[in-house]
Every structure is written in structure tokens, then in C-alpha cells.
């Protein structure tokens, strides 16, 4: 058997009293795109209701759906998700699980940290739970999903993930109780 290895295996952990920053692995990411007019109908047959806009996530059971463009969606499911198989042949299906690393940011200072990194309005009255933003973090494309009050998932490109991790933890330095071997 081949084993998975996290792109952040060698990342320096972040420890903060009020803020948690950690990789959140264990998901299946499938990008689907339409090749026929009835694409969205076929898709919802398999995964249920679809998100209305690019700005909102649709959570159906253990799946979260993002609308990442016209006739393009991301399906974030459990590791065992079979959506890809069930959609095979009905639309363009592109497995992207390895291509993204999910970094979870949680705690009172989370919005302040995000505000240091991305030109999006993170105010609690605006970026409410369920809101999704496709934006840029340190020159790299990221997808941010507000999963709860002050909890966020950031989907970053795998090959940039260690660098983005460094950028995020550095932005959060003032909230770090201590940063493990930060001075090495």
C-alpha cells in the first residue's frame, strides 16, 4: 500500500492561547464542471441542493459544496466520498484531493488574522458562517470557508501550502502564546 503524506508534515506547529491554526486533513475534493445544459440537475441528483451563489457554501450531510464559477463546483466530502465515481461520465470530473491542503483557523483573533492576509471584508456581520471567498493569500489562490462563528477553513494549493502556513502563522505571531522552536 502507498501511504499519504501531508504537505505540512515538516511545518512548524503554531500554538496560541486564543487561536488554533492546524491542518485539517481527511477530505475528498472533487471538481466538477458542466458539459451539458442539464448539468446542474444531474449534479443535484447525486449531491443534493446546490449553492445559490459563489459566495455561499451548501452543506448537504457530510458534503460541502462550493460554486467556484459558472457550471463549476467543488465537492468537499469525507475521505470515502464516492461522488466522483457516481458522477463519472455525466460531466467533467477532476479529482483534486491532493492538490489542496486544508488549514483550519479557529478562535477569537481568527478574523483579525485573516484581515492581515486577504483583501476581503471579514467583519462578523458580513462574512457570516457559510460564506465562501475565492481570493488570494500571499500571491497564491485560496478558498476560504467560514464554518462557524470564528472558525474558518482555508483551502490552499499544495505546492504553496508550507509557504502559506508560514505566512499565516507569522501574521498570527502577536496571538501566539509561543511558536514551537520559533527561533530556530
Amino acid at each position: 500500500m502507498l501511504e499519504r503524506r501531508s504537505a505540512l508534515a515538516s511545518a512548524r506547529p503554531y500554538a496560541g492561547a486564543a487561536l488554533r491554526i492546524a491542518e485539517r486533513p481527511g477530505f475528498t475534493l472533487t471538481q466538477v464542471a458542466g458539459l451539458s445544459p442539464d448539468f446542474e440537475a444531474k449534479l443535484s441528483d447525486v449531491v443534493g441542493a446546490l449553492p445559490e451563489t459563489v459566495a455561499r457554501a451548501q452543506v448537504n450531510g457530510d458534503r460541502a459544496l462550493f460554486r467556484i464559477g459558472p457550471a463549476q463546483f467543488w465537492i468537499i466530502g469525507p475521505e470515502t466520498d464516492d461522488a466522483a465515481a457516481r458522477l463519472h461520465g455525466q460531466c467533467a470530473v477532476t479529482p483534486l484531493t491532493s492538490s489542496r491542503v486544508r488549514i483550519a483557523l479557529e478562535g477569537a483573533p481568527a478574523r483579525a488574522v485573516l484581515a492581515k492576509l486577504m483583501p476581503v471584508d471579514w467583519d462578523a456581520s458580513v462574512f457570516t458562517p457559510g460564506t465562501v471567498a475565492l481570493t488570494g493569500l500571499h500571491h497564491t489562490p485560496v478558498t476560504v470557508h467560514c464554518t462557524a462563528g470564528n472558525a474558518f477553513d482555508i483551502y490552499v494549493m499544495r505546492t504553496f501550502s508550507l509557504d502559506v502556513w508560514e505566512a499565516v502563522t507569522d501574521a498570527a505571531l502577536e496571538f501566539a502564546g509561543h511558536r514551537t522552536n520559533a527561533d530556530t
Binding site: 500500500m1 502507498l2 503524506r5 504537505a7 483534486l96 500571491h139 501574521a171 496571538f175
Partner: protein, 984 residues
């Protein structure tokens, strides 16, 4: 004798908290709440530096950001910060300051001899001399000029402090917290709008901080308290709005230097905020102008408003007598407050008629008023001793300080950052905003509204309008304090000095520009405002002419005999005040300067002794420790490994694109010059694409996975460009094609298994898979499942050897890589790096990097035959431009070094044997390597006429090292021309 002293009581300083700062190595006592400037005056330190050009003694002029003279160097070692205005520095424990531009000291400054040469240093001085004796003479003079110029001395050490940056959004931004700003912020916030109030000072209140009126103080505190109680409002001190940019982007910078050097870890010295505001209320106030008269730069000559601020806010006053010189009513506020503090005050008023109200109020305080008179001259060199008055009261008055009240210049900088020029207002005798876009509003002194209750009313209105413009309806205005009155601002503009004295009359203190310099500029025809500024350097100092621009403009208008508006206005550009570079860069510096991109195999490379090299943003394994310690030796061993056995290389950085849809084949058929329509499923094809201009854009191998799905690879360098280009064509130009593309660069890892023993190695790694030539021929492709994971095998070769590319989902890359090395160990397989990879392809004659530099055509690269004759493809039309088809274009050749004892270098220029070695030659070397097959240096290059000259001996010149070498032109395919190894 004493000039200034600390008053026994009063002021906003905290006398319970004494502070010990150091100035020039000596203690500088003061209290919390002092600035460096107020502490200097409190300690009677008037002479604080020397002027830029003439090294004249100078003192503090202002109490705010407009200060032209009092620049100090703060901190020591790596923390040294030159040219900081003392008026903007909190006096804190541990503060260390040094005077500038004076040697050995401001008191005794050797460069003062400059003032003797003063007549020479008039405007345009530099342009008129230092030209001789010979052509290059300036190079002789320049070092001396440079040493003399340049204000403070910077350190060359890296800045030790941290700077932070964030993005923010709000409905209403209010700039300035004076009466108008506080009213605007409060009114807007009461509507429920998200309000940000930015104040540059250390406390809120603006002009109110310089007053001594209990009712107004109560009003100020009430506003602040209510504002702080509202959850939708944020108020920041020490925060300057440095500029406004398109789309209502306001750049705010908060200066937290007062926390240093004792700052906590992670705490930033400055925080820059990019604030997107729906609407903006500007309540930026006004700055008082000096008057121009002989020796108006003597230490002890300040702005009248500054004297008022020092006495009321810092409890620092002239010792016995102050003379105020004015052309308007506002000077009397200072006069009355000084008198109230026990200072004897004389006012010289340019106006012959002073209002009765003022005469009575001033008279009551024993203030002597001389209507119709101004200052002729100032006596005293290092401190003011007395002033000579002119007009009907030509007397000399002994005094400790002089206050200049030349009228007020509204701070219209932000309103003009957007491109709207300020307009001149006769009544104000100054420039006010020339207009506002719909989402901008103004209030208070910056609009020319100087009365307190008027400013508050205007502020409330602006706040309400801004809120409603941002979509918030009902609100409640902030009302002025009950007894707030509107003091008059009657002004009689006076620009030229009172005649009768020979001393220098300064217009711009920091740039040492006198009234005579403005005259000279006028004489010589440098009359437009911009010419005046650039020729005399007026307004070019760190104060950006905040106190001097209007006076200079008015004087020029006077000389030209035109009105001030006719003479023009000055354009204000960001930043409003000098802005620390570190604050702009924020955290994006050093190792964080640009993102690092790492292969999925990166951790293995690190663990196994790879040396890395930067390739764009990527860190790539250059060579491995097993092969040697230096690239020069290591890559040769790694090449031999691949030529004689088998090697494993990380090719994950290649661009990879998933192309799906019924029209996928047609799409590829259009973007590649060669045909893809009939590529069979399970086959790979090398393709080249052009840009519309007919120049080669990129190349790569593309496999057909199913009828409607292709797997495209691009070069590492062009991956991003190609992806955007494909998206552009599909989304904007070819809607008729039903195709979807997605990037797989991060999803799939790629490893090349190359060498005569490649098949043997993979058969050990994947015992179940049939890898025979029949089952997987050259340019064949197959997916199979191994260890529960899909593995994609592409039989293709970059090295020219029998080779396979093994692609797998990136999560499993290291696991599979280790498996192959372990399972195939008997074949002697080892990893090889980028240097060997690139060298092997040179031997094979594959173009890459410098051969694909946006300058070359298909034919230049010897790929012309690939293009489909009767097929359309992007770039076809312009490919056939006249010169693109010229027979003698520089095109691809192989090169062999004929002189074994020599070295071949990239960037060498090529000449025919018979050529004179000069000019641009006939081509150049793009890529060089040692060939393990031919045991000599070989290269790829571009040569005029290309392979028509095959077999010719030519010359490679490298004059930078005075080297030349003889080469032979050969086919770029140095090895296995018939491709036997590929098909093995």
C-alpha cells in the same frame, strides 16, 4: 538668560510621571505627555539644529506635523531613524535623540562658514557651475556636494523592528478628530454605520487640545466616550491617513514607536491599514502660515498657534515677553492665552483697522497692539533678542519669542489625491477643496470654516450625509457646546516682507529658500509653480512645504502681476507625511518576500542530501549528495547514471492540465501547431504552441486518456501563462467549443525513470504491470492501480534514453518514490537532479529555457516540419511574416568544443572563423554542458543560417573573460539520432 520656561501648573502633561530621555548624550527631563519639542522648549533649548544650505541656527517653528526645522536622529545602531520631527515624537523613557546637519554641534557648527558664502548659493546655483574644467568634472565635485547635502545619517544595518499590514472595510471614514471630525464621526456612528475615526495626534480633539476652555474640554470628552461606547465605531490615535487611492482606498498608518524599544514579541512598530471606505469625511483642519520678514528663521520665532499650543497643552511659555505679528484675527487667541499665562504680549498687526471687540478683549489683558505695523527685522543670532517693528510704530521691542500669524492653509491634501485640484478662496486667503466626488465630504477648517460652532455644525452635516450616502438613514446630530462662539477670521493677505532690512527673509525654512531665490527664479523664467519648486527646491523637504507653498505661490503671483489662482496651485501627492518604507512592505520581506513553491517530493529531497536551486518560485533539487559536493562534478556522475544505468528524477514542477469535453480534441488541434484530432487513446504526443504573433509560446507532451479527456503537460516556466491562455481562448473567443479545463499541477506528482535499465527498474517496482515495448510502446500511456492508488505511466523521454514518467496523486508521491528506489535497488537506481536533467536534454537536442525565450519561431528551433500544412492553428497567419521566414535567421544548432583544454560558457557570442570579432556576431550560445557521451563540452545555440553551416568551424567569444574558443557546428541531436534507445 532664559527664553522659555515650564509653567508651574496647567497643561495636559502628567507631572506625576517624570520622563528621562537623552539628547546628544545629555539627559533631557520632561513629563509624560510631552513631545520631544515641548521638552526642548521647557528646558529652554531653543537652538536645535542648523539649516540645510546655509547652516544658520534654527529652532522649533511649529507644534505639529508641519515642523520644518526641528529634525532629529532617533535611536542607535540598527534602530537609528534620521529626520524625525521633534513635534511628532512622544517623550518616553529610553528615548535617545541626536541633532543633525551640524558639526561638531548646533551651537558651534563649522559648516556655518556656508552662511558667509550665502550670496553664491542662490537658486539655480548648481546648474550654473561645476562644469569645468573638463567633460567629467562633475564627478570630481559631486562627492563634496553629496556629503554636504542629505539631512540625517541613515544606518546600513537591517531594520530590527516588525511592521504589520491589514485590510479593513467601513461605511464612513472620518479623517481628523477636531471639533468637526468628532461631530462627523459621532453623527455618522449614531446612524448605525460602521465608522472609523483616524487621528494623527496622540489624543483626540485637534485644536481643542490647544484650548484652555473647560466647557469645550467637557464636550470633547463626551464625544469620545459616546463614540467608544458604540460597537459600530472604531477610533484610532497616532494614525495618519497617508493617501487616498482609486476606489476609496484609504491608507492609514498607525505609528507605535512610543512602545519601542520595550515592545512585546510580535508587536509591530507600525501598522498599515488598507481601508476600503464607502464614504469619507475629511476634517483635516488647517495649518498656520509664517510671515516672510528679515531673519524670520531665528530660534524663538514660532507660529503663533504653536506658541498657543505650547502654553496651553504643554505648559511651556516664553519667559517674559512675546511679540506676535499677524495679518488676521486668530493671532489674538494666542495673545490672550499667553497673557493669561503671565507673558507680556505685544501684537504687531499688519492691518490698520483691528476690530473693536478684539481691542477691548486684548486691552483688558494688557496686550499692547500696534495696528498697521509689521516686523522689519529680528535681532539675535542663536535666540531672539528683540524685534524691530515698522509702520507707524517703528520701535524695537525686546522679547523672548516671536509668534507669526500669516493666516491659515486648509489641509486639502487628501481631497486632491484623487485628482481634483484645490481652488483659491479669497475670503480664506488660501486653497480649499476644488470639489468632491459623490462619496467624499468635508468639514471644518479644511473647508475654510474656522468658527467652532460652525465647524461642529458642518461636521454633523457631513457625518449625516456620509452615513445616508452609505445607506444609513436616521441619525442624531452632535451639537456644539452651549457657549461656543465663532471667533472671526478677518484676514488682510500680506505676502511680501515689510521693507527696510537686509537680512534673509525665508519662505521655506527647511530648504533654505529665501524671498530672493523666488525673485531669481522669476527673473530667469522659472515661473510656473512646478518650475519654481523644482528650480529652487521649495517645498521639496520632508515637510513638503506645508508652511511654505502658499507664501511662495503668492509671491510668484505678485512678481508676475497676476492673481494667485492664475499662478496655479500645487498638486499634492501621497504620502501626506513621510511614510516609513518598512510600514509599506509590512511582513512581506526577507524569506517572506515572495512565496516558495515546493514539490510534493520536497521533504524527501531535503532528508536525502539534495542541494536546491531556485527556478522561478520553485525550489528544485539541483543535485544529490551521493554524486558529489559541487554541481560541476555531481551532475556529471548523475548523467552517467542515466546514460549507463537508470536514474529517478522529480519532474513534478511541470505544468499539468486536465482537458475534458466533446470538443477537447478540436481544442488541442487549434492551440498546437501539430495535429491532435486523431491522436489515439492511450498515446502521448509532443506538441508546440504559438502565441497569436506566430512566436513559440510553449511545448510539452499531451496524452489522450479517453476519447474526450486529455492530460496536457507544459514547461515549468510557462505553466501559469498557458493555463490563463487556454482559459482566455475558451471563455472569451471560442464559446462554440464545449471544453472544460482544470489545473492538475498540484494534484499530480511526476517522476522520470530514465536509462537503459528503466524498464527493469519499473518491472521490479510494478511486478503486475506489463511494461514490454509491445504493451507500452514509446509515446504510449497507461493508468493502472498500484497499492490502492491510480498510477499513470507515460513512456516518453526528455533525456533520450529509454524512459518513463510515473505520475501519481501528490499525497502518495514520497511513498511511491521510496518504493521505486527500494524495489528497483538491484538496478542501481539513484535520484538525479535538475542540472543533470537539463544537461541530458541538451545532449538529446531538446529545446527548453533559453531556447524558448519569446523571440524564436518554430523554424528557428528546427520544428517547422511539425506544423500541419493544411491545418489551422493559433499563430499561423503571423508565423509567415516576411522576416520570420527569412533564410538567414538565427536558428538552432549543436556545437562541439574543438579545444579540449578550454571551457565553454553560456552567453558566448558566435562568429564565423573569418569574421572580425566585434559587433553582434552571428548568434550566441544558449545552453552548455559537459557531454559524458562525447567527453567534451557541447552546447546548443542560435546561429545565423543555422544548420546550413553544419560542419563549419566557428568561434565562440567571451570577451568578459577575454576568452575565445573554436567550435564545430553539428546537429543539435548529439546522441542516438535515429532514436533506437527510445524504442528499446
Amino acid at each position: 538668560m532664559t527664553s522659555f520656561r515650564r509653567l508651574p501648573q496647567g497643561g495636559r502633561i502628567d507631572r506625576a510621571r517624570p520622563i528621562s530621555a537623552r539628547l546628544g548624550g545629555k539627559p533631557l527631563p520632561g513629563f509624560a505627555g510631552d513631545t520631544l519639542a515641548s521638552a526642548l522648549l521647557a528646558n529652554d533649548r531653543l537652538l536645535i539644529g542648523r539649516s540645510f544650505k546655509y547652516h544658520r541656527p534654527r529652532g522649533i517653528v511649529a507644534a505639529g506635523i508641519e515642523e520644518p526645522n526641528a529634525l532629529f536622529t532617533l535611536g542607535e545602531g540598527a534602530a537609528t531613524e534620521p529626520n524625525v520631527a521633534a513635534t511628532m515624537v512622544d517623550l518616553v523613557d529610553g528615548l535617545v535623540a541626536r541633532a543633525q546637519n551640524a558639526w561638531p554641534s548646533p551651537d558651534f557648527d563649522l559648516m556655518a562658514v556656508n552662511s558667509l558664502l550665502a550670496p553664491l548659493f542662490q537658486s539655480g546655483f548648481y546648474y550654473k557651475t561645476f562644469m569645468g574644467p573638463s567633460k567629467g568634472s562633475w564627478m570630481f565635485y559631486e562627492p563634496f556636494i553629496r556629503k554636504a547635502a542629505g539631512l540625517g545619517r541613515a544606518t546600513a544595518l537591517p531594520d530590527p523592528d516588525r511592521y504589520d499590514m491589514c485590510y479593513a472595510f467601513c461605511d464612513v471614514l472620518v479623517v481628523g478628530s477636531g471639533p468637526a471630525g468628532l461631530a462627523a464621526a459621532l453623527t455618522a456612528a449614531r446612524s448605525g454605520a460602521r465608522v472609523v475615526l483616524a487621528e494623527q495626534d496622540t489624543d483626540f480633539g485637534g485644536s481643542l487640545l490647544s484650548c484652555n476652555d473647560a466647557e469645550q474640554e467637557a464636550w470633547r470628552l463626551a464625544c469620545i466616550n459616546e463614540l467608544k461606547s458604540l460597537p459600530n465605531a472604531e477610533a484610532f490615535t497616532r494614525t495618519t491617513v497617508q493617501g487616498l487611492y482609486d476606489g476609496n482606498l484609504a491608507v492609514l498608518v498607525q505609528n507605535r514607536s512610543h512602545l519601542f524599544p520595550s515592545a512585546q514579541k510580535g508587536e509591530a512598530r507600525m501598522l498599515l491599514t488598507q481601508l476600503r471606505a464607502r464614504t469619507i469625511v475629511m476634517a483635516t483642519g488647517a495649518i498656520e502660515r509664517p510671515l516672510v520678514f528679515s531673519n524670520n528663521d531665528r530660534p524663538g520665532v514660532l507660529l503663533a498657534s504653536a506658541l498657543r499650543t505650547y502654553v496651553n497643552r504643554y505648559a511651556v511659555a516664553p519667559d517674559k515677553r512675546a511679540v506676535l505679528v499677524t495679518n488676521n484675527d486668530t493671532a489674538y487667541q494666542a495673545a490672550l492665552d499667553l497673557a493669561a499665562a503671565g507673558v507680556a504680549v505685544t501684537v504687531a498687526d499688519h492691518r490698520s483697522n483691528v476690530s473693536a471687540d478684539i481691542l477691548t478683549r486684548a486691552g483688558a489683558q494688557g496686550i499692547a497692539i500696534f495696528p498697521g505695523s509689521g516686523i522689519v527685522d529680528v535681532e539675535g543670532a542663536k535666540t531672539v533678542k528683540a524685534v524691530k517693528l515698522g509702520g507707524p510704530h517703528a520701535v524695537t521691542v525686546e522679547c523672548d519669542a516671536v509668534g507669526m500669524a500669516g493666516g491659515w492653509s486648509p489641509v486639502v491634501h487628501l481631497s486632491s489625491h484623487g485628482g481634483i485640484k484645490p481652488k483659491y478662496d479669497e475670503a480664506v486667503a488660501g486653497f480649499v477643496p476644488g470639489g468632491f466626488p459623490g462619496s467624499h465630504f468635508g468639514a471644518g477648517a479644511m473647508m475654510g470654516t474656522f468658527g467652532l460652532s460652525a465647524a461642529i455644525a458642518e461636521g454633523s452635516n457631513a457625518g449625516a450625509s456620509a452615513a445616508s450616502h452609505a445607506g444609513f438613514g436616521k441619525t442624531r446630530p452632535a451639537y456644539a457646546p452651549e457657549h461656543a462662539t465663532d471667533r472671526t477670521y478677518a484676514i488682510l493677505p500680506t505676502w511680501a516682507p515689510t521693507q527696510g532690512a537686509k537680512g534673509k527673509a525665508f519662505v521655506d525654512f527647511q530648504s533654505d529658500v529665501t524671498i530672493r531665490d523666488v525673485k531669481v527664479a522669476h527673473q530667469e523664467g522659472y515661473r510656473s509653480v512646478e518650475h519654481l519648486k523644482r528650480y529652487t527646491t521649495l517645498g521639496m523637504g520632508t515637510d513638503q512645504g506645508k508652511t511654505s507653498n502658499i507664501n511662495a505661490l503668492a509671491l510668484m503671483a505678485e512678481y508676475r502681476g497676476i492673481t494667485i489662482p492664475e499662478a496655479g496651485t500645487t498638486t499634492f501627492r501621497p504620502p501626506y507625511a513621510p511614510l516609513t518604507m518598512g510600514a509599506i512592505a509590512g511582513r512581506t520581506r526577507g524569506s517572506h518576500f515572495r512565496p516558495v513553491r515546493r514539490s510534493p517530493l520536497n521533504d524527501w529531497h531535503v532528508k536525502n542530501g539534495a542541494t536546491f536551486i531556485d527556478a522561478g518560485l520553485w525550489k528544485r533539487a539541483w543535485f544529490y549528495a551521493w554524486a558529489g559536493a559541487t554541481p560541476e562534478t555531481a551532475y556529471v556522475k548523475e548523467m552517467e547514471l542515466v546514460r549507463r544505468g537508470v536514474g529517478l528524477a522529480d519532474v513534478s514542477t511541470l505544468g499539468k492540465i486536465d482537458i475534458q469535453g466533446p470538443d477537447a480534441a478540436e481544442f488541442l488541434n487549434r492551440v498546437y501547431v501539430n495535429g491532435f484530432a486523431r491522436l489515439p487513446v492511450g498515446k502521448v504526443r509532443y506538441g508546440v504552441m504559438l502565441y497569436d504573433d506566430g512566436i513559440v509560446l510553449d511545448d510539452g507532451a499531451t496524452a489522450r486518456i479517453t476519447e474526450n479527456q486529455f492530460y496536457m503537460t507544459t514547461t515549468t516556466a510557462q505553466a501559469g501563462e498557458v493555463m490563463s491562455w487556454l482559459e482566455y481562448l475558451l471563455q472569451m473567443q471560442w464559446p462554440e467549443l464545449n471544453v472544460q479545463v482544470a489545473s492538475l499541477t498540484d494534484e499530480w506528482a511526476g517522476m522520470a525513470v530514465s536509462g537503459p535499465r528503466a524498464r527493469a527498474a519499473l518491472e521490479l517496482a510494478f511486478p503486475e504491470a506489463d511494461l514490454s515495448d509491445a504493451a507500452l510502446p514509446h509515446m504510449g500511456c497507461r493508468d493502472f492501480v498500484f497499492g490502492g492508488v491510480t498510477v499513470r505511466l507515460l513512456r516518453m523521454s526528455f533525456s533520450g534514453e529509454l524512459a518513463f514518467e510515473v505520475h501519481v496523486a501528490a499525497d502518495y508521491a514520497i511513498s511511491l518514490w521510496e518504493h521505486i528506489l527500494k524495489a528497483a535497488a538491484p538496478t542501481g537506481i539513484k535520484p538525479y537532479g535538475l542540472e543533470a536533467l537539463a544537461s541530458l536534454r541538451i545532449e538529446k537536442g531538446h529545446v527548453a529555457g533559453l531556447e524558448l525565450d519569446h523571440r524564436n519561431t518554430l523554424d528557428d528551433l528546427g520544428l517547422g516540419k511539425m506544423a500541419g500544412k493544411d491545418k489551422d492553428y493559433v499563430g499561423k497567419a503571423l508565423r509567415f511574416r516576411e522576416d520570420c521566414q527569412a533564410p538567414d535567421r538565427w536558428s538552432l544548432v549543436g556545437l562541439e568544443l574543438m579545444e579540449p583544454d578550454k571551457k565553454l560558457r553560456g552567453g558566448s557570442i558566435l562568429f564565423a572563423a573569418s569574421d572580425e570579432i566585434k559587433g553582434h556576431g552571428r548568434g550566441y550560445i544558449t545552453s552548455v554542458t559537459w557531454s559524458t557521451e562525447l567527453n567534451k563540452f557541447i552546447a546548443l545555440g542560435l546561429y545565423k543560417g543555422g544548420l546550413k553551416h553544419e560542419g563549419e568551424e566557428i568561434i565562440a567569444a567571451f570577451p568578459l573573460k577575454n576568452e575565445q574558443a573554436r567550435l564545430k557546428i553539428v546537429s543539435p541531436h548529439f546522441i542516438d539520432r535515429e532514436g533506437a534507445r527510445l524504442h528499446a
